[in-house]
């Protein structure tokens, strides 16, 4: 098991290295001079040259990359124009917002986490629960209702669902405040009430896929021989379904969940925009609009880290669920 873990972590590190090199090349080796975007008005050639020097853009690419990586791991000195000393994890300096990129990230990352993690828990419970129920009650009105629900979810867009939720719960019924982000450590109730609509909207859309997937998986598993064996032993239905069938049916759900959660953590642009909350996704889009290269670079890297981490987690969960995986 520990060998399995080491192998997976090693390949994850390699992936991250490759991603960081690629993003670095894409943004800093593009033919367009990044400095023009960072210097909004009244840029004379001397000032441009100074900024270029500050950014180290006149150094060879390899040492630029090394400097960037060193900044992430140990911190580095960026020079007075970029706020001086930049502590690890240093992601550079944003000329657009005039702050260290790591400070921006530290502000918006908790927002995205607060949106995605509760939403993921909600959509997994809802989706897998619906799938199980409709599989076990196949052909009944319950099954049809669950399928109808999931079809609706799959065919609607988030900005539509979000707008309807806002209209009903915030503006008509006035049950909830206008969505906003409050730290969970400051006021958990305000944190939840400010984000609950975003969770519900995301969960409604995502749970559709999970409901259909887990229904299909469960139906397939129920026809497996080992489920019949479990019944032949005299096990009661909850144990047959819960302990024997569900565990075998859940593996593909884990895979998809890993991809979805990893992807969503990289930014939920539409959700954040619909509910007017500034998270990682909107920050990334804003950075692209204003040509804020250090911030773009950081958000892309963070998204990649989440996807890779989610995949490692999926692999570990796989191994925990299926003992045969540990052999490989």
């Amino acid at each position: 098991m520990s060998r399995f873990l080491i192998k997976r972590l090693f390949s994850a590190t390699l992936t991250l290295f490759a991603v960081s090199v690629l993003t670095f090349l894409m943004f800093f080796a593009l033919p367009r001079d990044p400095v023009t975007g960072m210097c909004p008005k009244n840029c004379n050639p001397e000032r441009l040259e100074r900024v270029r020097d500050d950014l180290g853009l006149n150094d060879p690419l390899v040492s630029q990359y090394a400097g960037y990586m060193k900044g992430i791991v140990t911190g580095r000195d960026l020079g007075s124009a970029q706020g001086g000393r930049c502590d690890a994890p240093c992601l550079g300096w944003s000329y657009v917002s005039n702050e260290a990129v790591s400070d921006t990230i530290a502000r918006v990352l908790p927002v995205t986490l607060s949106i995605v993690i509760p939403a993921a828990i909600l959509w997994l419970l809802l989706g897998v629960g619906l799938g199980m129920v409709s599989a076990l009650r196949r052909g009944t009105w319950l099954d049809r209702a669950a399928i109808g629900f999931s079809l609706t979810g799959a065919s609607l867009q988030l900005y539509f669902v979000g707008a309807v939720l806002l209209l009903v719960f915030v503006y008509n019924l006035r049950l909830l405040p206008v969505p906003s982000y409050t730290s969970i450590f400051d006021d958990p109730v305000k944190w939840a009430s400010g984000l609950v609509l975003a969770w519900v909207a995301l969960a409604f859309l995502f749970s559709a896929i999970y409901a259909r997937l887990s229904r299909a998986q469960m139906l397939e598993t129920l026809s497996e021989d080992f489920v019949r064996t479990a019944r032949a032993k005299g096990l009661a239905k909850p144990k047959v379904y819960g302990r024997h069938a569900l565990r075998a049916a859940i593996t593909p759900v884990v895979t998809i969940a890993g991809l979805d959660v990893g992807g969503a953590l990289g930014g939920t642009v539409i959700t954040e925009t619909t509910f007017g909350i500034q998270g990682l996704g909107r920050t990334a889009v804003d950075a692209v609009r204003s040509g804020d290269l250090p911030t773009i670079m950081a958000t892309v890297l963070i998204a990649a880290v989440f996807v890779v981490l989610a995949n490692v987690l999926v692999d570990l969960l796989y191994a925990a669920i299926d003992p045969r995986v540990r052999l490989r």
Binding site: D225, T229, A230, A232, K233, D322, P323
Partner: protein, 371 residues
């Protein structure tokens, strides 16, 4: 087991009388006029159509037939493992004196694994791939021994693994099915089915998925365990060779009906139904002429939705014409086959006893199968 407990009234035996043979009175399992129908989109499947048999403790009944003959459906119906929403079961199934047909799910569940257990064809798919073998056996024990703690259940499982001939049972307990060989897996499956000392064991093609060398070991093991636990065994197979090795009685099924029934001696030495002849001709014999050709039965097993009229075997039967139009219009009943009415050898064939004897002799001569 429960069946051996004295009845509270003190009466010797007040179980409901079932119209069957006299020897059936002692049988642990009695099945009479069992009919199993499935509703499918294509129509009603008559998977089992009026089958009766009985098995005493300590005896083995071999049920033989091609796939789709209804042999597996019969066993699933006995254990109540059919899908209740689309299956209709009529007739009687009595296990240890209790009528199983019509019991609630919960009541049948309590019998399953405790009074009647089952071994399946492919042990790799029948064992759960994600749980250790030992845990699955211990689980089977704890279902019916809720007071047993984890350690007792483990000890019981290790004992059973040891009993079925698995070396180092305590270490094997913690291994997964994929770490077992095919034969060892089937042994573990047997250990699991016997962990609660059931009086009835149904083995559905228990050796089909195994190597030939392992097959004999598993059959020997079943015979040993039967001697020790004194259980009634139903062995479902398409292989008459397997039946000859371990069964006491044989039931030959075709198209959901019983076509021949009798002791192993009777059915294998003097088979009466042309279908049984066909089955025998398609089994290689170690004792006969090694050059003898194996002769397959022509045609395919019948569709259970649209069974041939009359004798279901008539489209494939070489002798159907000799029985006249009856073979296409009347379903033959199971009747005494031989000279004496009481020897228990039954056959469902329109041909007369002398005709059959003559054709069988002719069959052996033409085909060269020595049995």
């Amino acid at each position: 087991m429960d069946s051996s407990e004295p009845s509270p009234s003190g009466e010797p035996d007040d179980r409901p009388a079932v119209p069957a043979q006299r020897s059936d009175q002692d049988a642990y399992l009695r099945v009479s006029d069992l009919r199993v129908r499935f509703d499918t989109e294509d129509g009603v499947v008559r998977a089992v159509d009026g089958v009766s048999f009985a098995v005493e403790r300590g005896r083995t009944l071999g049920i033989v037939g091609e796939s789709g003959s209804g042999k597996s459906v019969t066993s699933l119906a006995i254990l109540g493992l059919h899908d209740p929403r689309r299956t209709t079961i009529t007739g009687e199934i009595s296990v240890g004196g209790r009528q199983v047909v019509g019991l609630s799910d919960e009541e049948v569940r309590r019998l399953r694994g405790r009074d009647m257990a089952m071994i399946f064809q492919d042990p790799l798919s029948a064992l759960h791939p994600y749980y250790t073998v030992g845990r699955q056996i211990a689980e089977a024990y704890r279902v019916h021994h809720p007071k047993a703690n984890r350690r007792e259940a483990r000890q019981r499982a290790v004992d059973m693994l040891d009993r079925v001939g698995i070396p180092q049972p305590a270490r094997r307990f913690d291994q997964y099915p994929h770490e077992f060989s095919g034969g060892m897996r089937q042994r573990a499956m047997i250990a699991m089915s016997l962990v609660n000392d059931p009086a009835l064991l149904i083995a559905d093609e228990p050796t089909t998925a195994l190597d030939v060398t392992v097959q004999a070991q598993i059959l020997d093991l079943l015979a040993d365990l039967q001697a020790e636990f004194h259980s009634a065994i139903i062995l479902i197979t398409h292989d008459l060779g397997v039946v000859g090795q371990v069964a006491d009685d044989v039931l030959v099924m075709y198209g959901g009906r019983a076509v021949e029934r009798g002791s192993v001696e009777q059915v294998l030495r003097s088979p009466q139904h042309p279908y049984t002849w066909g089955l025998l001709s398609s089994v290689p014999s170690l004792h006969g002429d090694a050059d003898a050709d194996l002769v397959p039965i022509p045609g395919n097993p019948p569709s259970l939705i649209n069974l041939p009229s009359g004798c279901a075997f008539h489209p494939r039967c070489r002798y159907a014409d000799r029985a006249g139009s009856r073979s296409r219009s009347d379903v033959p009943e199971l009747r005494p086959a031989g000279q004496s009415d009481s020897d228990g050898h039954l056959v469902a064939c329109h041909l007369g006893a002398e005709e059959r004897a003559a054709f069988y002799a002719e069959d052996i001569a033409s085909v060269g199968v020595a049995r």
